[in-house]
């Protein structure tokens, strides 16, 4: 066990810190789920990319920095430490990008990766359909082959970033006779094609974080198929895999929230119940546990280990922690905990309320926590289905 950073790792951290200090916008951007915010975030991504920090874990040949997972964790720590903006193109950067590297043709890599790196093209994900939520294999949207095109029909929903994205990726049923996870093909779809209707979905916080996307005889060139025809499930599983999920929810995110929570609790220490102080302490411990566990996992992965159903433990842990931290923050804010940030009396309520509404979705999206508990019980503990 070696818990010290190497010289190189320290240098990497120092470089990241310096660049971020000089470049992170002084005032917070608007939410990327608004038109104006999406524009601001695209600008920020372009700047990150110009600085060479947009695609830290990507290979250098695709515009990345070739960083390993541990360096990625270091970068994330610095990124959150600097209070840098959220990543509008996370679907592309962390989910689709690595999948294209694995399954894409050379032409696809050249076509998609650079514009993803610069966020010139922002990606929506199209995992879910109205009847394929937690039950992801129940996909009904179809793609039939017509010459050198697929013709898409059907509907995707809960497409995150769907409202302001340029492209969408998802699975379509290319074999009409097939069932469940067979006969699906992974296809990349430009959202400006004729026959596509994007309908933003307004969330509890009033923002359009998701969209429904309708396909009505949409013609997509076959070269936008990723991986083999009918093998979309394997591609999707790789995309949804743990290593990438990790990148979406790096420990730094929860450590940053835990720190803000502790600071809020310290500020109001005289007015809060002792039990709230205790719960804040427990949350900070949990954020540390999450960080340590991630380092344990990354150490194993760097030594060529594999990750399996443990990802379900991870999902439950961070989503419950995130929700608990936001609940506690509102509790600490007391009477002001119900105020919108724009209320004259809001004071230091900041983004806690909207953060709470967002955190409420944690136990739901990316596979409800109920599904995750089934997976743990069946695949890790060996209980019967």
């Amino acid at each position: 066990m070696d818990l010290d950073y190497s010289k190189d790792q320290q240098t990497f951290r120092a470089d990241a810190r310096e660049w971020l200090q000089q470049n992170v916008p002084a005032t917070a951007l608007e939410s990327f789920d608004t038109a104006e915010g999406a524009k601001q975030h695209r600008e920020w991504e372009a700047r990150l990319n110009a600085g060479g920090w947009a695609m830290v874990p990507w290979p250098v040949e695709y515009g990345g920095r070739g960083a390993n997972l541990l360096e990625w964790l270091i970068f994330e720590e610095e990124y959150y430490r600097a209070g840098a903006p959220k990543r509008i193109n996370q679907n592309g950067i962390f989910l689709l990008g690595p999948t294209i590297m694995e399954y894409g043709t050379p032409e696809q890599k050249a076509r998609f990766l650079p514009k993803m790196a610069s966020s010139e093209e922002v990606w929506a994900q199209g995992w879910s359909e109205p009847n394929a939520g937690s039950d992801m294999a129940n996909i009904q949207a179809t793609a039939f082959r017509d010459g050198d095109h697929f013709v898409l029909n059907g509907q995707k929903t809960w497409a995150s970033r769907g409202a302001f994205a340029d492209w969408l990726f998802g699975m379509f049923r290319t074999d009409p006779e097939s069932e469940r996870h067979r006969g699906l093909t992974f296809i990349l779809v430009p959202l400006d094609l004729p026959g596509i209707t994007v309908r933003p979905i307004e969330q509890l916080d009033g923002l359009a974080g998701f969209a429904e996307v309708f396909f009505d005889d949409v013609r997509v060139p076959v070269e936008h198929q990723l991986g083999e025809q009918g093998k979309g499930w394997s591609v999707a599983m790789a995309t949804a895999g743990f290593e990438r999920g990790l990148m979406l929810r790096s420990p730094a995110r929860f450590q940053a929230t835990a720190k803000r929570l502790v600071e809020l609790a310290r500020l109001h220490v005289d007015s809060i119940e002792p039990s709230v102080r205790d719960e804040v302490t427990r949350c900070w411990i949990a954020a540390e546990a999450y960080t340590l566990d991630t380092h344990r996992t990354v150490s194993r992965l760097l030594a060529d280990g594999k990750i399996g159903a443990e990802a379900s433990l991870n999902k439950i842990f961070w989503s419950e922690l995130d929700l608990r931290m936001h609940e506690l923050a509102l509790e600490i804010l007391g009477d002001r905990g119900e105020l919108r940030p724009e209320a004259p009396a809001a004071g230091d309520v900041g983004s806690w309320l909207d953060g709470y509404l967002f955190a409420l979705s944690g136990p739901i999206y990316a596979g409800t926590n109920e599904i995750q508990r089934n997976i743990i019980a069946e695949r890790i503990l060996g209980l019967p289905r």
């Binding site: 879910s128 939520g133 929903t157 009033g206 119900e338 209320a343 004259p344 409420l360």
Partner: protein, 353 residues
């Protein structure tokens, strides 16, 4: 000893429930959300016709002359319907306060309230905000010395404080306290403010019951229809059990609210403790109902267009209004730990041996 509401009370409740089912729909609530005041004078007038604002107004002032037992039943219905009108501020809190103040204030305002022609809001030191101040014709407000004042809205400086619930409109209010605005002071004002707090908290508890019941109903309905893996999600134990747990909380909050209503109506000595127990339990049921109903709905519940959040936000609002949980828990805790309250078998009701 009969721990039940009587038939007349249940009849009244059913009447109001039926009225609200017709007149207050998710669509009409959303329409009001988009308005500046979030309130409908027409609806208020209709509510007056079925006796809601004037429920506690004494008969000599043209009211129904009823009490808190009836009030909690009706406010439970208001919660079930996600009604946004100032029922708690005006009907549950301001009316008995004005009646106790008596004199010119009572003579002027109580008949107007009963007729649905006035809204009265009440401030209290337990919160920096006054609900429905923005539409109140009259405001009853404490000053820094503990005296109580009556001011009209144009004499007050009302600053809206947008909240998480578009149905809950709160404001900070400043006004010039003077001899002429003063309605009560000293012990009388303390007594009136304490009673106002208990009535407001009791009403919130009652509203939370209705909200919780509706949340469970919405979730059970959705879970019975929505399929995943070829089965309705409501057939999965995880969904069943989370809803069952909320149902347990709800059904054990209910008798606490019922008893608190009796204690407020009869000005029982442990009134404050009984009210706090009720508000704690009912709001805990409603807020956990919000969380569980959302989880049972999954992503669809997370959308603005799904009606679920109308009640989720009401649950959070009732939790915030008229004393948050730490305040009410503290009141019960103090009573228990100072030994002020007789406890143990045979102490629950008055007149025990």
């Amino acid at each position: 000893m009969d721990f039940r509401f009587d038939e007349d009370q249940e009849l009244l409740q059913n009447t109001v429930r039926e009225f609200l089912q017709t007149e207050v729909t998710p669509g009409s609530v959303r329409t009001l959300w988009e308005t500046e005041t979030g309130r409908s004078p027409e609806l208020w007038k209709q509510l007056a016709e079925i006796g809601l604002p004037g429920l506690l107004v004494p008969e000599q002032h043209d009211g129904m002359g009823m009490g808190e037992e009836e009030m909690v039943l009706l406010i439970e219905e208001a919660g079930r319907a996600a009604l946004a009108e100032p029922v708690i501020a005006t009907a549950a809190v301001a009316v008995p306060l004005l009646a106790e103040l008596g004199g010119a204030l009572a003579n002027e305002w109580l008949p107007k309230i009963a007729a649905g022609e006035a809204v009265v809001a009440v401030g209290h030191p337990v919160s920096p905000f006054v609900e429905d101040a923005h539409v109140a014709d009259l405001l009853l407000l404490p000053d820094g010395t503990g005296a109580l004042h009556a001011v009209t809205r144009d004499a007050a400086d009302v600053t809206a404080q947008p909240s998480n619930d578009p149905s809950r409109r709160i404001a900070t209010v400043e006004f010039d306290a003077s001899e002429s605005t003063r309605a009560a002071h000293g012990d009388e004002a303390s007594r009136l403010l304490a009673a106002a707090l208990d009535r407001g908290a009791l009403a919130c508890a009652a509203g939370a019951l209705g909200v919780c019941d509706r949340l469970i109903g919405l979730a059970a309905e959705y879970a019975g229809e929505r399929k995943q893996f070829g089965k309705p999600i409501g057939s999965f134990q995880a969904v069943k059990h989370m809803l069952a747990n909320v149902k347990v909380k709800l059904e054990y909050a209910r008798p606490l609210v019922q008893r608190a209503a009796h204690s407020v109506a009869n000005d029982a000595s442990a009134r404050d403790v009984h009210v706090s127990m009720a508000k704690l339990a009912a709001c805990e049921a409603a807020t956990s109902g919000a969380k569980v109903a959302l989880q049972a709905h999954g992503a669809i519940g997370y959308t603005w267009e799904q009606d679920l959040h109308l009640w989720m936000r009401r649950a959070w609002s009732f939790d915030h209004a008229w004393g948050r949980s730490p305040f009410h828990l503290g009141r019960v805790r103090e009573a228990l730990f100072t030994g002020a309250l007789p406890i143990g078998p045979g102490t629950t009701f008055r007149g025990d041996a």
